[in-house]
Assembly symmetry: C2
Homo-oligomer: 291 residues x 2
DNA sequence: TCACCTACATGAATTTTATTCATGTAGACG
DNA sequence: CGTCTACATGAATAAAATTCATGTAGGTGA
């Protein structure tokens, strides 16, 4: 008599993800394991049940009859467990929030304002994650992200639009004095930043200077470095306005040529939809919208 | 940001059992592991959740606030999984049924009739488990049990009364001829069987022979052996009537002294309540009630 | 009141299980 | 027809669960 009512529960995690995504490969990515691990786990569950749960088709899998029966039950059960597990963790863990943010935004915008949030919500421990690697929100590393995107439409992610930004070209005031018409800009190095070519060319087009960005332009890893270079009179850089507001106010940076063109995308606060009601996330969201 | 929505699911098995039984020791027994394993698993879950789930009291445990919140959810989720898992296993496993039965009953009653069941339900593969070790039904080893008990009241177990049996004393016909009154029985060895002292003394009392069973009586491990000894003229044994019906009919055994006393307990078919609707169990039950 | 018992805890050793790595297979796609 | 993609598979490795041996604390009975 071989009878073991519950299957090895760990295999269910793999099965649920594979069934939901209809792909072992994607399930593997979601669970941060290899495709091989999912394959083994599913095979082990199938052996345990004495029936196969997936039909293996070329290049993909689909649920078998038994899989169709099993999946909703397993998914529902794991959902319930996950929900209550989070509830218990939340009520017992000290509140903490990791904010994903680009270095430039962190240094030139967020950090100067962050003390106010800490004063208002001292019970929430804030960490910043500015590892440049992710341009998009990465829910594995952060609870909430302050990001720029043209397509705020990833599934299961909430986007709250904070602002659309005007693009401005900035340089040191000395440099600005030497520029009286848009064309004069060509006399100075154009400071390029990886990943922002679109912003630059939109701005250049708006002032009638196509081809402003040359292959020979100095290239920086991030806006932060390019802005510092501009402050030091090394050229002109195009950035969203809020990153240089303080410098414009103090005169550290100046606008050589006016333009009213906007960034094509928007700046958003993003977080996982299912976490929308967590206190720390709500508080940070409410606070940042007032800024 | 430490976030792992699902806890290690294997720890939930231990938690559920411990919470339900309100004892780590009993949970360990149910899951066939050591108490230490449960303790480690629960501790690991508690570490993962960041809060304790049990209050450790001297000699026992009770659920903490968080435990009270978690337990019903986990129990319900595991129940759902178990239910559907069984469903899938059933529909894909070749039907098989292990019947727990005492050796004597197997040899003298069940096996002679079993072919009829196999003929009627050839799709069900029958195994017998007559390992003497369990006097009670053991759901880990068998699907259904044919057992004798005075208290058919274990939780989660269904009992279907098959019959109550008359106790008869039997011996070879040669021995029977030498016995004309109850007292004559004392001239022959009384064949004792471990675990049936009660039956013997009830019978002895009913015919006015208290103290019939002596310390010097030969003792057998099971009725089967004692009956064989009686067949071979080695003495008198008291057994439930159905075990010797065939021998009485053929004259291999005889009843030296009549009595109408019944066994205090009954003969039951037992199985886990939750498995009452399985086809193999229902079929065996229906068949055996006709015998 | 003092052994002794019972139930749970704990750390190290061990066994079992999960995962990776390296490679294989089969069909789709250019 | 090669090449790519997604999954399978077996051996090696890493991680996790379990046991074993022992400890602790409170309760129980001589």
């Amino acid at each position: 008599m071989v009878r073991r009512t519950l299957p090895p529960l760990s295999t269910l995690k793999a099965f649920e993800a594979a069934a939901r995504l209809r792909s072992f490969k994607e399930a593997a990515e979601e669970l941060n394991v290899t495709q091989s691990a999912i394959s083994h786990q599913v095979a082990s569950l199938e052996r345990n049940l004495g029936t196969s749960l997936f039909r293996r088709l070329p290049g993909r899998v689909e649920l078998s009859k038994a899989g169709e029966l099993y999946f909703p039950v397993v998914q529902d059960a794991l959902d319930r467990i996950a929900l209550t597990t989070d509830l218990i963790r939340q009520s017992h863990a000290p509140a903490a929030l990791t904010v994903q943010v680009y270095v430039t935004v962190a240094v030139r915008w967020l950090i100067p304002r962050l003390q106010k949030f800490k004063d208002a919500s001292p019970e929430i421990a804030i960490s910043l994650d500015a590892s440049l690697l992710d341009w998009e929100f990465n829910a594995d590393r952060a609870d909430i992200g302050l990001i720029y995107t043209r397509s705020p439409d990833r599934p299961n992610v909430s986007y709250t639009l904070l602002r659309r930004e005007r693009l401005v070209a900035v340089c040191s005031s000395a440099t600005a004095k030497a520029i009286s018409s848009p064309a004069d800009i060509r006399q100075f190095p154009f400071l390029a930043v990886t990943g922002t070519a679109e912003d630059s060319s939109i701005w250049a087009a708006s002032v009638g200077l196509p081809g402003l960005i040359q292959k020979s332009s100095p290239v920086f890893d991030s806006n932060l470095l390019a802005i510092e270079a501009a402050v030091n009179g090394q050229g002109v850089v195009v950035v969203p306005e809020f990153l240089v507001e303080a410098d414009l106010a103090t005169g550290t940076l100046a606008i050589p040529v006016q333009s009213d063109v906007m960034q094509p995308g928007g700046w958003y606060l993003t977080y996982l939809q299912r976490r929308a009601n967590e206190k720390a996330i709500r508080k940070f969201l409410d606070w940042i919208r007032q800024q």
